[in-house]
């Protein structure tokens, strides 16, 4: 690991201003992904800004009837919150399907959103990777890519986003609240938060330099039945091959988002309208234009069958 200086800050605006002032700096919260990447020198910050002491560790009701989740709320506390379990069960389920208890005890809401891909070539510094070294090439295309993207990818990158939590937040139309280095704030709809890889896979979201996430807001509860079905190579503590997040209403309408298939949580406007028509109709819209590789074509079938199974369970009532 490269040497770095370290600073604790006490307000979000101070954190953003410090980051803008200090080239080479990174925010650190739980550190469960950043420290790992720093050990491998994939991330080489020269300065760390500790954002654990900003008072952003609460879950509060909003005027609109939803919830505001502080950026530093731990994954375990978010999954265990009685309001989340009752009204946003898909989010609780998604969190509990991710990582291990030890990691959920340390990882934060904002950190989870900002975690990097687990593409093995991103991690292997001996291999070209456009995400790690822009312009160096993509080793996953034509390489070991069984667990890579099937939709929305590019010639530059076929990595997937690893978060389960973000898939549920995408389904729930969450908003990402931030503060910029000049102290101004904004809310980015999660649908506009992540980017497709295109020619710039190293730029994964639309945050500007120094901009700090302060909270994630959830709109009013949707009601209905909530599902997060994650399919993986072992029963626990593994990343998704595919995952299906869904809210199904008693009349069969609802919404659906996918994990493990793209560079970001995957939701397609218009696909939800086909919910009552069954899994085939939804998947046709969701995965329109999908270009799987020879090694991950199975994901297309897996998405279809997983959604089929979710819809069948929803029907059982």
């Amino acid at each position: 690991m490269r040497a770095f200086t370290y600073q604790r800050v006490s307000t979000p605006a101070e954190a953003a201003a410090a980051a803008a002032r200090t080239p080479g700096s990174r925010f650190i919260a739980g550190g469960t992904n950043l420290l790992d990447l720093m050990k491998l020198e994939i991330e080489t910050p020269t300065h760390l800004i500790d954002v654990n002491h900003l008072g952003l560790d609460k879950i509060e009701p909003t005027k609109e009837g939803g919830l505001r989740i502080g950026a530093q709320v731990l994954n375990v506390d978010l999954a265990s919150d009685a309001r989340i379990r009752r009204d946003y069960a898909v989010l609780s389920r998604a969190l509990l399907a991710g990582a291990s208890a030890q990691l959920r005890n340390k990882a934060t809401t904002a950190g989870n959103l900002l975690q990097r891909t687990r593409c093995p070539y991103f991690y292997d510094t001996a291999q070209p990777c456009n995400k790690r070294v822009p312009g160096s090439g993509c080793s996953a295309i034509g390489g070991y890519n069984r667990n890579h993207a099937i939709v929305g990818h590019s010639e530059a990158c076929i990595a997937t986003h690893p978060s389960d939590m973000a898939v549920a937040m995408q389904l729930l139309d969450a908003g990402v609240e931030t503060v910029k280095p000049d102290g101004s704030t904004r809310t980015i709809p999660i649908a506009d938060f992540y980017r497709l890889p295109g020619n710039t896979p190293h730029i994964e979201n639309n945050l500007m330099a120094g901009e700090l996430i302060t909270a994630v807001t959830l709109p009013r509860p949707l009601g209905g039945r909530h599902f997060y079905r994650k399919v993986r190579d072992r029963a626990s503590y593994a990343f998704a091959l595919v995952s299906v997040a869904a809210v199904v209403q008693p009349d069969g309408s609802g919404r659906v988002a996918l994990g493990g298939v793209a560079h970001k949580p995957w939701r397609v406007p218009g696909a939800d309208a086909s919910m009552a028509g069954g899994a085939n109709a939804v998947v046709e819209r969701l995965l329109a234009g999908a270009k799987p590789t020879a090694d991950n074509a199975f994901k297309v079938t897996l998405v279809q069958r997983t959604l089929e199974s979710v819809l069948a369970e929803a029907k059982k009532g």
């Binding site: 040497a3 609780s92 509990l96 208890a101 990691l103 292997d124 072992r234 503590y237």
Partner: protein, 223 residues
């Protein structure tokens, strides 16, 4: 009898070699492990001249004893425990959050100490395996692991036991898990719950069924 210090050093060297071997064996599995680094992490960048080390002060209360240390900012909580405080019960397995051998209880919650910077935990309270119990005065979970033979080589055991103690605490507090059927009810103690909640602790010897027996006994045998 051998000089105790010599023996101790020799044992630690053996364990270091063991840890490296275990990491190497685990690489093919890591591609599907959901952990901070689940890639092929064997290649590291060649040494690049780093800027001068930076140090910082940190106060930690470990197993009830207060410590004030000056450490390199890069030092993990795991390395502070082992190298600075010589509490070598906590083990370094993968050093990347995949195996759970480094599990300790930080401010009442189990974490991977390898993925924590010591300087970020100024004022925190840490409990390691040494703080749970000592020979002659074992924690009930330590005694149950002995009774049920919940290990073979023993390298993962301190992490398994710290985790197991936390599992029962988390169930008592109502923290749900992936296998909890009804999110609006308090989770029940069951073998499925124990297995799911212990999934962050890998045992390459495969002592899992005996580990579950040990935890079940401490929990009151209701599983």
């Amino acid at each position: 009898m051998d000089d105790p210090i010599e023996t101790n050093i020799a044992r630690r060297n053996v364990l270091k070699t063991g840890a490296l071997a275990a990491t190497a064996t685990a690489v093919p599995l890591s591609a599907m492990a959901q952990a901070p680094n689940a890639g092929t992490a064997t290649a590291t960048t060649p040494a690049v001249p780093a800027s001068a080390p930076v140090t910082s002060k940190v106060k930690l209360r470990v197993n009830g004893k207060q410590h004030e240390l000056t450490v390199d900012t890069r030092t993990s909580l795991l390395d502070v425990l082992r190298e600075n405080l010589h509490l070598t019960g906590t083990k370094k397995g993968c050093d990347q959050g995949q195996c759970g051998a480094c599990t300790v209880i930080l401010d009442g919650r189990r974490i991977n100490s390898c993925l924590s910077l010591a300087i970020m935990h100024d004022g925190s309270e840490v409990t390691t395996i040494e703080g749970l119990g000592q020979p002659g005065k074992l924690h009930p979970m330590q005694a149950a692991f002995v009774k049920h033979d919940g290990y073979q080589c023993g390298y993962c055991t301190p992490g398994q036991i710290c985790s197991a103690v936390s599992v029962l605490d988390e169930i008592r507090k109502g923290v749900p898990s992936h296998v909890t059927a009804d999110l609006n009810q308090k989770p029940l103690l069951s073998i499925d719950e124990i297995r799911e909640r212990m999934s962050g602790n890998i045992c390459r010897c495969g002592a899992y069924s005996n580990i579950v027996d040990a935890i079940t006994e401490v929990a009151g045998g209701k599983a």
